[in-house]
Symmetry: C2
Subunit: 304 residues, 2 copies
């Protein structure tokens, strides 16, 4: 296993995604590099007040430690105490136009090492979409891009990761999905049929997800960026963004682990929207475009 290859892929992916987003927005992303005192560091690429994106970030991080904390190894107690490294790219984008969905993607590799033994590694990642005003064809495009990206790894992979995504991005306290889903996977460490090398296969699968994020997301933004909107749509967007905050701070394991274990707060909370509103027990009017989000999009559906 060659971690240089991983680093090369992840940093290259970050560059490619940022370039595509910059070209789309017309405003350059800022760069903020940081070092983690306990080991490792990262490079955050950020946009705020862009022409199109109101706030967003595409972050690379590579963090290392000498002792894997027990909280990271609940399912693998045999790994506690190993030295470890985690590397990956994580992004969230909040367009200003409420007709354009928020999206999140993440690809990562985790490695636990011990002298004289083979390193243990696993991949994780995924991408998902959170519309404010939904369009069926957009959801279909997003999901079919995910399905096609994963097809080379077996027909069973997309349905499995689609379901995992629906289960993961769910606000239990609202009994409500975060959005229309996508794909999600973790603990990936499996060879392919015919004895395909496990690391090569899992790395290739992870790359397929990372490489297809732009294909899954940008065509939707292209299609919706010129839809006119007013205060009502902005208001609904700000209200729904509250759900995004609630999910990320209450349920997202990555966010909570990061915040509670001394991660870099500003990079972790780059995922939070720029302007958010809370309102008591609000419900959309019957028959409104806002209600359609709840009835037609915020429920697990087979999109492809």
């Amino acid at each position: 296993m060659d971690t240089n290859l991983l680093k090369q892929y992840f940093t290259g992916l970050q560059d490619r995604i940022v370039s595509a987003l910059e070209q789309f927005d017309g405003q350059a992303f800022l760069t903020d590099s940081w070092i983690r005192p306990e080991g490792g560091g990262g490079k955050s690429r950020l946009i705020e007040g862009g022409n199109f994106f109101e706030r967003g970030g595409v972050n690379f991080s590579h963090v290392t430690g000498t002792k894997l904390p027990p909280s990271a190894t609940a399912h693998r107690p045999e790994l506690a105490g190993r030295s470890w490294e985690a590397m990956g790219v994580s992004l969230v984008l909040h367009p200003r136009n409420p007709y354009c969905p928020t999206s999140h993607a993440n690809v990562r590799c985790f490695i636990a090492s011990k002298e004289g033994e083979e390193p243990v590694w696993w991949f994780g990642g995924g991408m998902d979409l959170t519309p404010y005003y939904g369009f069926e064809e957009d959801a279909q495009h997003f999901h079919s891009t995910c399905r096609d990206a994963l097809a080379p790894f077996g027909a069973e992979v997309y349905p499995k990761y689609k379901k995992w995504c629906d289960e993961y991005f769910f606000l239990k306290h609202r009994n409500e999905p975060r959005g229309i889903g996508g794909v999600f996977f973790d603990d990936l460490n499996e060879g392919g049929p015919g004895g395909q090398n496990p690391f090569e296969r899992c790395f290739a699968l992870t790359q397929a997800v990372g490489d297809n994020f732009v294909n899954a997301y940008l065509p939707i933004l292209e299609k919706r960026r010129d839809i006119a909107y007013g205060e009502q749509e902005r208001d609904f967007q700000a209200y729904r963004r509250g759900r995004y905050v609630e999910f990320n701070l209450v349920w997202d394991r990555g966010t909570l682990f990061g915040l509670q274990s001394g991660g870099r707060t500003e990079s972790i909370l780059m995922s939070l929207p720029p302007v958010v509103k809370w309102r008591y027990d609000w419900h959309p009017e019957a028959g409104s475009a806002e209600e359609k989000l709840y009835t037609d999009f915020l429920r697990p559906r087979d999109w492809v």
Copy 2:
């Protein structure tokens, strides 16, 4: 132990606080009563878009269960499985004027029962203040009201609960206190000197906290309500309110326990501010009024 007495006190306290706040605001609070399918219910009193309060709530709840969950009894494993009830008043108020601080208060009693044995009970509560633009005399007034309220219960009580408050309302991921503190206590079940009845003493102490919230908070609002403000102050307020959201959703045990255990989401999240902003790695300008909040107020200080 007479739970009717408790209920009478808590509902009366809610009424008195709401009346005082309504008179101050000039707009009536809404009433929303609810029933909890698993047992009990509550009455939420709410204001949104008031003349003075942008959003706020004063909630009474009395919830019961047949089996105390292990998560509620980490420190008292002998109580797991008992039937239980929890009763109390919890409030958060978000003024529109950034020169007026947000405040939170809570008083509650928890009882775990088992047939043929004495019920086990404990009180908890406190109040705390979160300014956007701080005033030393306001912090002194708030803390001296807390100190004087607790003085009859022993000179050591205020310093102990003041420290507890500083420790509890602390954002570890920001290394920053939520505000200027106040008092906080939990697990209170102690008699007084000379064999004073424990329940009577603890209930009286809890009442002293509840009864003094209006005295601690309203005079500050009276003093600051007419200070003129503009977009800059509103913007800073919205930014700082992000910290309030982060604390409540990431660290507050009551909020997390409520959300994760099927509590009434809208009543629990009444604590969240109406409009909130997040901005990457923002810092106040040196020498600004905004910086003064960080340097002079957001650090543990002896205010009285």
